[in-house]
């Protein structure tokens, strides 16, 4: 096994911390469902971001983006996550209550 000298180790740690920090920020995007509404309804994220939806209603909802992703029915407090690896606009809706629509813009 190759050993790292002190300087290289320091650089590696710094890089890892930076990477973690970047990931933590990118991973942290959330959309809440309250009162049959996606909040925020429109969200702009960087490529590689994971978005997590949480249903806070007493009625199940789904998150569906045609041809891109489709959650199961989320009961109260259930979540669904999707990682956006490609830039673009992702329109989505609740297939049970189609008047509920949202948009994730991935840059």
């Amino acid at each position: 096994m190759k050993t790292l000298n002190r300087r290289h180790f320091g650089v590696a740690v710094a890089a890892a911390i930076l990477l973690l920090a970047t990931n933590a920020r990118a991973d942290d995007m959330e959309v809440h469902i309250d009162n049959f509404t996606f909040q925020p309804a429109e969200l702009t994220v960087k490529t590689g971001t994971t978005v997590t939806w949480t249903n806070r209603d007493d009625i199940p909802h789904t998150i569906v983006s045609a041809g891109k992703f489709r959650s199961k029915a989320l009961d109260t407090d259930n979540t669904f996550s999707f990682t956006f690896t490609t830039a673009g606009d992702y329109k989505y809706f609740c297939s049970l209550h189609p008047h509920m629509t949202g948009l994730i813009k991935v840059e």
Partner: protein, 312 residues
């Protein structure tokens, strides 16, 4: 109509009138040849007294729902069934306009069946969106899909009336409302072909076929197409659920009616931030849940719908 008196033989005129306060806790109306008649005939049109065919509509049982708006939806379904069993005149059959279960779980379907079967009535179901949540939509289809077309639509005749059960909870489009789809509409047109225009028609589906409140998705995108096909018939009745409250209107020969839920009430259109379950005081809950009974008298094409709350 009082919830503590299941042995009540029928409903007195006074009680019905008491229930006709604005909340619509008990509503009776009737039409003759498409013309709405006064409520003064309430006595003679009561399902219990009237000859002719009576059937029941039950809706939105949401078995499995246990949130604050009603922690025991199975219990209130059972109360509804007890009320049905206590009716002095046995109805011919029952229709269920969907959302039998809350989350399409096998156990929820089983519990619903266990309670509803205690009526010993034939039940004609159409699905609500809550009944189609399992990945393969297997549980509903296995139980209720036999002999149906497409996603579960069908028709049958009873008492000289042609009944058509429609499915408008599948393949909903972003930003849209309920959806029947081209295949079902084609089937409907075909199903009605050759029927005498004097045949009374009953259309039933989960989501209202008429536009109640599009902001909350309360309507059916292509519902107008279905209504176009039944336009020439002398008596058309459209029965829906989904909105968990009584609403009705008459348009020409077509009468529209939505039934209460047996599980939880929902707010009047626009009266709350969302159409979610409405939490009311425990004492009021049963006045906002219930079933509907529908009576047809042959000959005069008179139809009467009586909405009975679990507790007046």
């Amino acid at each position: 109509m009082s919830g503590h008196d299941h042995g009540d033989d029928g409903v007195s005129r006074r009680k019905v009138l008491e229930c006709m306060t604005w909340a619509g806790t008990g509503v009776l109306w009737t039409i003759t040849g498409g013309v709405p008649r006064s409520l003064g005939i309430v006595d003679s049109a009561m399902a219990a007294d009237a000859p002719g065919m009576t059937f029941l509509q039950i809706s939105d049982s949401h078995v499995g729902f246990d949130k604050p708006a009603n922690p025991n939806a199975l219990g209130t379904l059972e109360e509804a069934v007890n009320k049905i069993n206590a009716m002095p005149a046995k109805p011919s059959f029952m229709i269920h306009t969907g959302d039998i279960t809350h989350l399409s779980k096998a156990a929820e379907f089983d519990n619903a069946e266990r309670i509803i079967s205690q009526t010993k009535l034939d039940v004609h179901y159409v699905p609500g969106e809550h009944d189609f949540l399992d990945e393969e939509v297997k549980f509903y289809r296995d139980r209720y899909g036999r002999g149906t077309k497409g996603q579960g639509w069908y028709s049958f005749d009873a008492g000289g009336v042609h009944f058509i059960g429609l499915v408008n909870v599948v393949d909903l489009k972003a930003g849209g409302l309920g959806n029947l789809g081209a295949e079902q509409l084609e089937w409907l047109e075909d199903d009605l072909r050759g029927k005498s225009k004097s045949t009374p028609i009953v259309l039933f589906a989960h989501i209202p076929l008429w536009t109640v409140y599009p902001q909350w998705g309360w309507g059916t995108e292509d519902g107008a197409r279905a209504l176009e096909y039944v336009k020439g018939f002398g008596s058309v009745t459209v029965l829906n659920g989904h909105i968990h409250q009584v609403m009705q209107k008459v348009e020409g020969n077509v009468t529209f009616h939505t039934a209460r839920s047996t599980a939880f009430p929902q707010p009047a259109p626009g009266a709350a931030p969302s159409p979610g379950p409405m939490k009311v005081e425990d004492a009021r809950l049963r006045s906002m849940l219930g079933v509907a009974s529908v009576n047809f008298k042959q000959g005069d094409q008179r139809l009467a719908i009586i909405d009975t709350p679990l507790q007046g």
